[in-house]
């Protein structure tokens, strides 16, 4: 993120903080405060050695994460200020040591409408393996390799809901750049990404104003959404450049138009899912889709539920003119286990296999509450088979397991 935008995000957040502080001095009966959040200690464990000179070679890579949340509500809960900053202090990677404003919003709830202004997060979609239609927020890539962590997005968002469904309208003034691991860190590939020198299609660079809209409706057992986005792509193309004798990747953010469709049909213990999108601006217009099914066996051996997931992902982009994507022709299968015990123990084991190259990713996530305040999590990201020209060739030795202990307050 450029200094200027960082400054403007800070100003928005500072203003919100100041108004929160101002409200604190008001009559306490006028509204309602809620302070919550979490602090987590984690370590990544890299069993393999580094692939490139200059990379950190330690097996353990510890980190500390702080994520408080302050909410103030008034006007019978119809006005709400939310402030949720985020900090990570990483022992090994200065790029992973970072702060962000995940959320700093004012929300007004009306009858059949709501308006949200500030920095926020929005999720669209139904599938589990890839999120094709989810486009509002930038991925906070240093957090995890699964792409689920997002940076706060400056937005003005009006939602209208009526018999014809729900219409979400977005003005997105300001762009967030994707985060990448630093040059000394693991998970960076052969060439570091030079996040200090990005380039843009848009003349106004990260100040370009993006627009988005989504219509969604529930038709009985069918949940449906149609969306469109116009603006700067959240996915950068990585362009090789010479940086004083060494090759680096410089992110280039193109202007795109993307139309998306998401469907879920829910019947008995089956969830049938589809996401599809078509995009222009990254070479010729192309399409991508992911379709799949989730079936759950309930109460196996007592109270546990076992879910079986299978999805197929296709992406028709031209790799030379669009950002590279792993899920171009891939099958995803997974098992989801929920013990439904008092500790809410859950686990997810998934595998992503490329139908042409056989390149395979395996992901494992498990969590369990220790008591009312502590939670333990385990995550594994492995690439058991990477061909020579594979997507993850540069990170093939960077399989890792994360152990995380979180305290909620």
């Amino acid at each position: 993120m450029s200094l200027m935008l960082r400054k403007s995000v800070s100003i928005v957040a500072g203003g919100l903080l100041a108004s929160l502080a101002g409200l604190a001095n008001m009559d306490a009966r006028a509204g309602e405060w809620d302070v919550a959040g979490s602090v987590a200690a984690e370590t990544r464990i890299f069993p393999g050695s580094r692939s490139f000179q200059g990379q950190d070679d330690s097996v353990f890579s510890p980190s500390l994460v702080l994520e408080p949340e302050v909410v103030y509500q008034w006007n019978r809960g119809n006005d709400r200020l939310t402030f949720r900053p985020f900090w990570r202090f990483d022992a090994d990677d200065p790029e992973r040591t970072h702060g962000d404003i995940r959320e700093a919003t004012w929300l007004r709830l009306g009858k059949g409408w709501d308006l949200q202004v500030g920095v926020g997060k929005v999720f669209w979609g139904v599938t589990e393996s890839v999120h094709l239609v989810d486009i509002i927020n930038q991925t906070d890539n240093v957090e995890d390799t699964d792409g689920e962590d997002k940076l706060g997005q400056p937005l003005i968002n009006l939602n209208l809901e009526n018999d014809w469904g729900m219409l979400e309208l977005f003005v997105l003034p300001g762009f967030r750049e994707r985060t990448f691991a630093g040059s000394r860190a693991r998970l960076r590939g052969p060439n570091p990404v030079d996040t200090d020198n990005p380039t843009f299609d848009a003349g106004s660079e990260e100040y370009h104003v993006d627009f988005a809209a989504r219509w969604s409706r529930v038709f009985g057992d069918l949940d449906m959404g149609l969306s469109h986005f116009n603006g700067t792509s959240r996915e950068p193309r990585l362009i090789p450049a010479n940086d004083g004798g060494r090759v680096v990747f410089r992110p280039h953010y193109d202007l795109i138009d993307q139309t998306g469709l998401d469907l879920q049909y829910t019947v008995d213990a089956w969830l049938w899912k589809l996401e599809a999108m078509t995009r222009s601006g990254h070479g010729n217009r192309f399409g991508a889709g992911v379709a799949g099914v989730e079936y759950t066996f309930y109460q196996i051996g007592g109270n546990a539920d076992l879910g079986l997931l299978a999805e197929y992902a296709y992406d028709g982009r031209n790799a030379s003119r669009a950002p590279a994507v792993v899920s171009d022709n891939d099958v995803f299968v997974a098992l989801r286990l929920a013990l439904n015990d008092e500790k809410d123990t859950t686990a997810l084991l998934g595998a992503f296999v490329d139908r042409v190259t056989g390149e395979t990713f395996v992901s494992l996530e498990a969590e369990r509450r220790l008591n009312d305040y502590w939670k333990m999590e385990l995550e594994g990201r492995l690439s058991p088979y990477v061909p020579k020209d594979g997507f993850a060739f540069g990170t093939r030795n960077d399989d890792f397991v994360t152990l995380r202990l979180t305290r909620y307050f």
Partner: protein, 261 residues
């Protein structure tokens, strides 16, 4: 000779009439229960749930349940459950549109991902947040969900109760039947015995500390569920019962679920 045919016939017919009569009476009791609870409009209640395992170790959940009464006879109520405690699930919300015989429509909101998920409602007999209450125990009472039968009248504490049998007519129930004690004074459920798919006694639920609201609506402020097969129990303590807070269908929509607090 005729006597030998007619006598058993009379016996069978009279038994059938009596059975019909007890079914009719059971249905009338349920309809009266339903009638007495009509017109509350909407409600909100805070709920503290204490789960205790066989070794006496306990854990606590805190949640709020908002209910919207749907006046149409063939439509069940809408309900919204918001989790406050433990903190790792704080902000999680569960929206359910109860149906009579069709599967319910259900969505879950996961605040960390800001994601609203439509979920399967086939899991009626599964445990609600690890407790001894199944999902089907947490949904609203609708007459049409059961076949009804009056069994007998008997004293229940200081009151006299109808003892009635409810046989679920909807799919995926974990019960063959529920036997309920309903007091004759105010048609309040005092106790329920749940019988599992093998027709063995699974759980007993006792309602305590009833309070009347708006001069009409009785709500138990304490419920105790004991699972006889596992020895586990779950206590529900209700507080801050509020009615007619002006909630409408817009507060119970999928689109509003990620705004709920």
């Amino acid at each position: 000779m005729v006597k030998f045919i007619i006598l058993p016939l009379i016996l069978v017919v009279s038994l059938a009439v009596e059975a019909l009569g007890s079914e009719q009476k059971g249905l009338e009791i349920a309809m009266e229960m339903d009638r007495r609870d009509q017109g509350f409009g909407d409600s909100e209640v805070t709920l503290r749930m204490v789960l205790t395992n066989r070794n006496g170790e306990s854990s606590t959940r805190e949640l709020r349940i908002r209910t919207l009464e749907m006046p149409a006879e063939n439509t069940g109520d809408k309900s919204l459950t918001i989790f406050d405690y433990p903190k790792d699930v704080k902000g999680t919300a569960f929206l359910s549109f109860t149906k009579i015989l069709e599967p319910d429509d259900q969505w879950l909101y996961l605040p960390a991902l800001k994601r609203v998920k439509r979920i399967s409602s086939a899991n009626k007999s599964g445990p609600f947040v690890g407790s001894e209450f199944a999902y089907e125990d947490m949904t609203s009472f609708e007459v049409g969900k059961y076949a009804h039968k009056w069994l007998r009248d008997e004293p229940c504490g200081a009151l006299t109760c109808f003892v009635v049998e409810w046989t679920p007519r909807y799919e995926n129930s974990g019960y063959t039947r529920q036997v309920s004690w309903v007091d004759q004074a105010e048609y309040r459920i005092q106790k329920v015995e749940y019988y599992d798919r093998k027709s063995e006694l699974l759980k007993t639920l006792v309602f305590q500390d009833y309070k009347q609201y708006l001069g009409q609506y009785w709500r138990a402020r304490k419920m105790l569920m004991v699972n006889h097969q596992t020895g586990k129990k779950t206590t529900l303590e209700f507080s801050d019962h509020r009615f007619r807070g002006g909630l409408d269908e817009g507060d119970f929509s999928k689109g509003r679920l990620n705004r709920v607090r």
